[in-house]
């Protein structure tokens, strides 16, 4: 070893900072991934290769699982107007408190007679087991509550869109779209009831909600 002693540069990198950044990113993705209202009704949709996505506004979603039908209107304002229309049609009065709760209720599956009761419960007690589903049949009368809900939601959408026409830069998104989110194992008859309910009110175009199929 002579006088020229080359100081060996340290080749190890301090990974602490990298570790911090990566955990920060991870936390961000974990939180944005799951921050949505827990689904009341768990529906396992079948897969398809269709690339179109379900729109996140101006749509009404009919969920079917275990023979129960749940309904959800995406836009809270339209939701409120829908309830007003239904309240008139079925002659049931809702309080201001009920309307406020309904605005925040994503999805529900009870006959309209029991809706006030459902709205009075706190959110975590509105489980799937106490909700028997929305009644549906082959008629167009008030016994087919799904028919009424879809029809009133469509009317509410038109009313809401018309009320926004005056706004600057507002483009009318058109009539409400309808999507059917049915569990993969659900038998055909109940889906047929829903399709016929839609056809009876001339809603001939609708979508099935599916997951993305990766292969084949």
């Amino acid at each position: 070893m002579g006088k020229a002693k080359v100081k060996r540069a340290s080749t190890s990198i301090d990974m602490t900072a990298m570790c911090d950044v990566s955990f920060l990113l991870l936390t961000f993705f974990v939180l944005t991934a799951t921050a949505r209202q827990p689904e009341v009704l768990v529906v396992d949709t079948p897969a398809s290769s269709s690339p179109e996505k379900v729109p996140d506004d101006n749509v009404g979603i009919i969920s079917v699982a275990e023979g129960k039908i749940f309904f959800s209107v995406k836009n809270p304002n339209v939701r409120e107007i829908t309830l007003k229309n239904m309240s008139q049609k079925y002659n049931i009065n809702f309080s201001a408190e009920d309307y406020e709760q309904f605005r925040q209720l994503d999805e529900f599956g009870v006959p309209i007679q029991n809706l006030r009761q459902l709205l009075s419960l706190p959110n975590d007690q509105r489980t799937e087991s106490i909700q028997p589903g929305i009644p549906v049949d082959t008629t167009e009368t008030s016994s087919n509550e799904l028919y009424s809900w879809v029809q009133e939601a469509r009317r509410a959408t038109i009313e809401f869109n018309r009320s926004r026409e005056g706004e600057r830069g507002y483009e009318d998104p058109g009539p409400m779209k309808v999507a059917i989110k049915a569990d993969a194992e659900e038998k055909y008859p109940i889906i047929n009831l829903i399709i016929e309910t839609l056809r009876n009110q001339k809603q001939n175009k609708f979508s099935f909600v599916t997951g993305l199929r990766s292969d084949s």
């Binding site: 190890s12 570790c19 055909y188 979508s207």
Partner: protein, 183 residues
Amino acid sequence: MAELNQDSGKGNKGGKVRAKKAGGKVDLTAMVDLAFLLITFFMLTTSLNTPHAMDVAMPDKNKMDANDNLEIADNRSITLLLGSDDKISWYYGQLANPIYPPTTVDYGKDGIRQVLLRMQKEVPQRAGGKDLIVVIRPSEKSIQRNLVDILDEMRIVDVKRYMISKINSDEIEVLESEGLFND
């Protein structure tokens, strides 16, 4: 490497038993790798979770004819009867006098898709250039996944004309005789 320094202790224990101390340096590279793996996982699963929509268009409801029977040429139409147990029974032409009698086939690339591709070539030859029409008749023992799979096949094979209509009792008998009408 980041170091987590531990107190190296107050010197070794005297005597024969000497506990081996772990070096005070912990390499964090592995942890960073794991963190990036988890990030990638969450990034990908959230984009895969967004529900997709498959559009369906039904014809106008004809209040007079509950069975939605439209007039279609026999030599252009194949009818798919969706049975139970993930199987399809298909026939070409009219059930009373079929060009190809009912045969059972599976879903998927090796089953119904082969049938559809074959008929897509054959029908124009038989019907003077006109293309294939597919009539889909789900039975009450079929499930949502069957219907979605068939509509997906329509998309994949690019069938221009198809319709969903009501199954009749003769067709149910066909399914029963082929053992495809179970719960």
